[in-house]
């Protein structure tokens, strides 16, 4: 049994041994500890700010770069703020790529469809691997890992031939077939389901609920943080993908935004200003999804179903 699964939530009798054996110290609020706490807060914030600088600066630089001229983007040493702001870079991106609105639609359509399909199928399969006993489960799980370890390049040609014969090349179908589920996120869901207490299912079984009902009504609501992670990561992955679009799409009307943006990248004539503006436009939806999504990373969901 998985460690977290064996933990009856909300009861203190079965707390992990490590906690039970911890020396108990009476807590006393004193002046000295408060002063230590104040220092601790300063140190803590300093740490948070250092990490923020470390992780956030390149993104800020992307946004600032998108308002620079091509030469200033690659100036060395780099400038922080644009010497002259060029908001028209954004206009140029939107007008210079032929059929950009259609590419935006393609990107959104495939991304949303893939997220919906993955949320359902990754969690369904993940649940079976995590919780149900069925024939060949070990073998199948081993196979799933084994297919993830082969570099995907070697699959390109056979997959292309197969999708061509299925008449899916140059259609949305090619990408939906390739990405309706992703073994990596099945693994993610599997690992997450293991930390949901079993008691709930046992109770539902006693109540005579079917397995799909248990999965759909009990388990999925509890797995909201994991679904959120799968959703955000699938969204980012699908949104940023371009190699599959390159291989499987023939007409420019079937391209996504990322593939459209590579048009600005030729070997020597990099239009850096437009690449930057395009990148910011292309990042925005992911950022938005994440900004909305991360607010739901809140504790307590796991315990809402508890009696």
């Amino acid at each position: 049994m998985a460690i977290s699964g064996s933990l009856p939530v909300g009861s203190e009798i079965n707390t992990p041994v490590s906690i039970a054996t911890m020396p108990t110290k009476p807590r006393r609020e004193t002046d000295s500890t408060e002063r230590v706490n104040a220092l601790e807060v300063v140190v803590r914030y300093a740490l948070y700010i250092v990490i923020t600088l470390f992780l956030f600066v390149p993104f800020v630089m992307t946004v600032l770069s998108s308002f620079k001229t091509s030469a200033e983007v690659i100036a060395f040493p780099p400038t922080l703020l644009p010497t002259v702001w060029h908001p028209e870079n954004y206009l140029h991106v939107l007008t210079q790529i032929d059929g950009f609105p259609r590419m935006v639609f393609n990107s959104f359509f495939i991304t949303f469809a893939a997220v919906a399909l993955n949320l359902f199928f990754d969690s369904l399969v993940g649940y079976a691997f995590a919780r149900l006993e069925f024939p060949f489960k070990n073998t199948l799980f081993a196979i799933m890992i084994a297919t993830m370890v082969i570099p995907g390049f070697v699959f390109i040609v056979p997959r292309y031939i197969m999708l061509l014969n299925a008449h899916l090349v140059n259609t949305y179908g090619a990408l939906l077939v390739l990405y309706f589920l992703q073994p990596g996120y099945i693994l993610l869901m599997t690992q997450f389901f293991k930390s949901i207490p079993r008691d709930l299912e046992e109770a539902a079984i006693v109540d005579g609920m079917g397995w799909f009902g248990i999965f759909w009504k009990i388990i999925l609501p509890l797995a909201r943080p994991a679904l959120l992670a799968t959703g955000i990561l699938t969204f980012a992955g699908m949104w940023n993908g371009f190699f599959d679009w390159l291989i499987y799409m023939q007409d420019a009307t079937m391209f996504n935004i990322q593939l459209g943006l590579t048009t600005f990248r030729s070997v020597y004539q990099n239009q850096w200003d437009l690449i930057m503006a395009g990148s910011v436009l292309a990042i925005l939806p992911i950022l938005l999804v994440y900004l909305v999504g991360q607010r739901y990373f809140v504790r307590g969901i796991a315990t809402t179903g508890m009696k």
Binding site: G10, L132, F155, A229, S279
Partner: protein, 314 residues
Amino acid sequence: MAVSVVPEAPAATAKVRRRQKRGGMAIAERRAGLLFVTPYLIYFVVLQLAALVFAIWVSFHHYDLLAVDNPFVGLRNYARLTVNQDFLIAMRNTTEYAVVVVILQTVFALLLAVLLDSKIKGRNFFRSTWYTPSIASSVVISMVFLYVYHPTGLLNSILGLVGIHTSEAYLESTTWALPALMFLAIWTTAPTFMLMFLAALQDIPKEVYEAAAVDGASAVRKLFSITIPLLRPIIFLVVSLGIIGCFQVFDQMFIMTSGGPLKATLSVALLIYDNLFHDVGTVGVACAEAIVLGIVIFALTLISRRVIDTKIEY
């Protein structure tokens, strides 16, 4: 089962207990299990099995994608790998890269997630900004890091401030190019794994921490005696996805260094790509390389599962 990587192999006794408890449910459970994994089964048969068999079959041939005749060569493609300097160099580079990156990105991601999970003012701001490396454009990241690693760039400027004066050109140094790419990889992927840890932390019941708080456990103590043990399934997830991703590393080398200088950053995936698309008659070699690499990754995933994802009995 020796190769079992099944998410959980309950102890025989526990299994028996469950069976007894559930009685007739076992058949329904089996049926449901098979039904639920059917989508993956279809995915595997349609998209992976044929391609995998094809790759294995090709690895025993002198194969070219456009050739009419592709002679069978037995194990020659594999045998040659053992004396192929490029493959050996790439394997060493990739292994070094993977070991360092997997360990550090997992630790860093966990640290970030724990920091973001604590109650602090502006938590949403930190949560939002810390994820951005994972979505910033690779072009921008390349530009930024070209500057960071430049002889008179950011890194050397910072080192200068603390009294270390150097004009090392990191990406052109056979010593530093690989570590430079490792750092870049950790920086971009740790926030992705941070997201997984953050999601997992939400599943740890508050009561467990409250119990520890009553016992007066320090934050560090809580991390090591509650959080990490409870996160084991997710740590395994992050480590195994890290191993899979790192051993197949391609993008950074392709964009930043093309495998140079002097093959110091040549990765196996880069080699496979070249043999697959940029040479003639080497598709068999590429497939052999992919399969050998796959076996290494698979073995390491199994080991990491043994070490990390083991169940703990209380």
